[in-house]
């Protein structure tokens, strides 16, 4: 793997670390299987790119993109909480709707960012090569997000959100307004995914409606890899695990793609990821079964 390819993999891993954090919030903290992500990631890219073309400050554009993602999360949460639509279905509805929305936002299937200033522009002239600057800037954003998120999940409000996902009945009996926490968590989760989309557009120099496909699976893969290499209970370390998982996943992908012997091409990525996640979901169950068989045998 060349140096450029290595830094490229780390960069994309860091961008998708934000997706992993969002997916961790919905799937793990709230126990809400949410596919909205496939729509909120390109939504973030679309909103950010459109605003940048219109000459808006890149940080503000990124923030607005994140807010747009939060709105998408709120739509899914409303369909589920208020109108009792099954969470998976609710999120698929939002995701499909977002495909149209994203086209509307951009006015065309893709937007190129050629001359526009991005959040990266001020750091390009500081002596480091561009392919190092990009992951560094994203790293700073990711570190800040991880610290804030860990702080949040350890607060009284965050603890109530975790309880909502673990045992909603108990949480309500302890006075937690579980519905409100689902809204808040889903907004936060999709806001992070949209922020990832905004950074993706700025680091890659384009936004495209099709970039969202498979985002959720990539995010899940990162969460699962993270949980495997860093099985932690403390909030901060669990979140760091998501980030590490995302980077490792991208490095593994890069390695597989650059090894000619395997004969994989970039378009095989979704298949490989899906297989990886499926295996990761099946393994623990097999292990449980094996363990109970063993117990029976002992008896």
């Amino acid at each position: 793997m060349s140096e450029i390819a290595f830094f490229g993999a780390v960069e994309i891993g860091l961008v998708y670390a934000l997706v992993a954090l969002g997916v961790y919030l919905s799937f793990r903290v709230l126990d809400f299987p949410d596919l909205t992500v496939d729509g909120s990631f390109p939504l973030g890219a679309a909103v950010c790119a459109t605003l940048l073309v219109a000459g808006v400050n890149p940080w503000i554009a990124s923030l607005v993109a994140a807010l747009a993602g939060s709105m998408a999360g709120l739509v899914t949460a409303t369909l589920n909480v208020r109108f009792k639509i099954l969470h998976l279905l609710a999120s698929i509805l939002t995701m499909i709707a977002l495909f149209s929305v994203n086209l509307r936002v951009m006015g065309r299937p893709n937007v190129a960012l050629l001359m526009q200033d991005t959040v990266l522009t001020p750091f390009y002239g500081l002596g480091l090569p561009d392919h190092v600057v990009r992951p560094l800037v994203v790293l700073v954003v990711v570190v800040v997000v991880v610290l804030l998120l860990a702080r949040f999940l350890n607060s009284e409000f965050g603890l109530a959100m975790r309880a909502t996902g673990v045992n909603a009945r108990m949480a309500r009996a302890q006075g937690v307004e579980t519905d409100f926490h689902i809204y808040a968590g889903m907004a936060l989760s999709n806001g992070l995914c949209a922020l990832a989309g905004a950074l993706f557009a700025q680091t890659n120099g384009f936004a495209d409606v099709t970039t969202g496909i498979g985002t959720i699976v990539v995010g899940l893969a990162a969460v699962i890899v993270g949980e495997t290499v860093l099985p932690a209970r403390a909030m901060l370390w669990a979140l760091v695990g998501c980030v590490v998982g995302s980077i490792l996943y991208r490095l593994a992908v890069q390695l597989a793609l650059s090894a000619d012997a395997i004969g994989l091409q970039a378009s095989d990525l979704n298949l490989v990821t899906a297989v990886l996640v499926a295996v990761a979901l099946i393994l623990p169950r097999m292990r449980l079964k094996a363990a109970s068989k063993k117990r029976e045998a002992v008896r």
């Binding site: 607060s155 009284e156 603890l159 109530a160 975790r162 673990v166 309500r172 302890q174 006075g175």
Partner: protein, 265 residues
């Protein structure tokens, strides 16, 4: 004080499975009274406690706590007034969270939950002191996940959690039913101590006639969604288990009660 006036609850209204679970329950419980609740399976005991806690909303009638009409309040809002311990230790706690996180969750009951740390140093110390009072050695296991505790330990911690936020009403729905006899005895003793120390107005559902008479100041029997027996004071003191079983049998239209293993002892 709890004032319940003619509440009705129907599940699955308009469906073939329609069930009129509470059919006009009236009950006034003065502050600090400890009431034991008995009745056969499906009598409506859990539904009644659920109606007090807000899990089921009464369609007619009213419920007031300390003079405040809470009939239409949802569970989280009522939680500031009402603490509960469930039959299934899994239901009453967050098994994936640590013991101290569970306690922090309970301690914030009825308060606005802000962005301050859920577990600050002084709170941790307070939790450690309180859990040490249980005498189970759990003060050294505050960082353990709740799911690692035995059923009895978890019910003991659940009882403690019920007292952390200073609510005045405690609802216990067969909270010792999942425990072995020795552990059940311990948790019941703890229940009595906690109720007395905190002067809690308490309702305890039990299938044991012995417990129903041994604990508390008053015993209420539910049958088919109505209160069919309400004894306290002298009258209750004069009752023993065979008496109560006979009364029970009468309510059930003279069915042979010895078949009902749930009612013995």
């Amino acid at each position: 004080m709890i004032t319940v006036n003619g509440i009705h609850v129907t599940f699955g209204r308009g469906t073939p499975l329609e069930k009129h679970a509470l059919r006009g329950v009236d009950l006034t419980i003065p502050e600090g009274q400890f009431v034991t609740v008995i009745g056969s399976n499906g009598a409506g005991k859990s539904t009644f406690l659920g109606a007090l806690a807000g899990d089921v909303i009464a369609e007619t009638g009213s419920i007031a706590i300390d003079g405040v009409d809470v009939t239409r309040w949802a569970t989280p809002k009522r939680a500031s007034l009402v603490a509960r311990v469930f039959q299934d230790p899994m239901v009453g706690s967050c098994t994936a969270l640590t013991i101290e996180e569970n306690m922090a969750l309970a301690a914030a009951r009825g308060r606005r939950r802000g962005l301050g740390f859920a577990l600050r140093g002084d709170r941790r110390r307070h939790f450690r002191e309180r859990i040490a009072e249980l005498g189970l050695g759990l003060e050294n296991r505050l960082h353990d996940r709740m799911g690692l505790l035995s059923g009895g330990q978890r019910q003991a911690v659940s009882l403690l959690m019920a007292t952390l936020a200073g609510s005045k009403i405690l609802l216990l729905d067969e909270h010792t039913a999942a425990l072995d006899p020795g552990t059940a005895e311990f948790v019941l003793g703890l229940t009595r101590r906690i109720v007395e120390e905190n002067r809690l107005t308490t309702l305890m559902v039990t299938h044991s006639m012995r417990q129903a008479l041994d604990y508390g100041d008053r015993t209420v029997m539910l049958h088919e969604g109505r209160i069919v027996l309400d004894v306290s004071g002298e009258q209750r003191a004069g009752l023993d288990v065979p008496h109560l079983l006979a009364l029970f049998a009468k309510q059930r239209g003279g069915e042979d009660i010895t078949d009902d293993s749930l009612l013995i002892g």
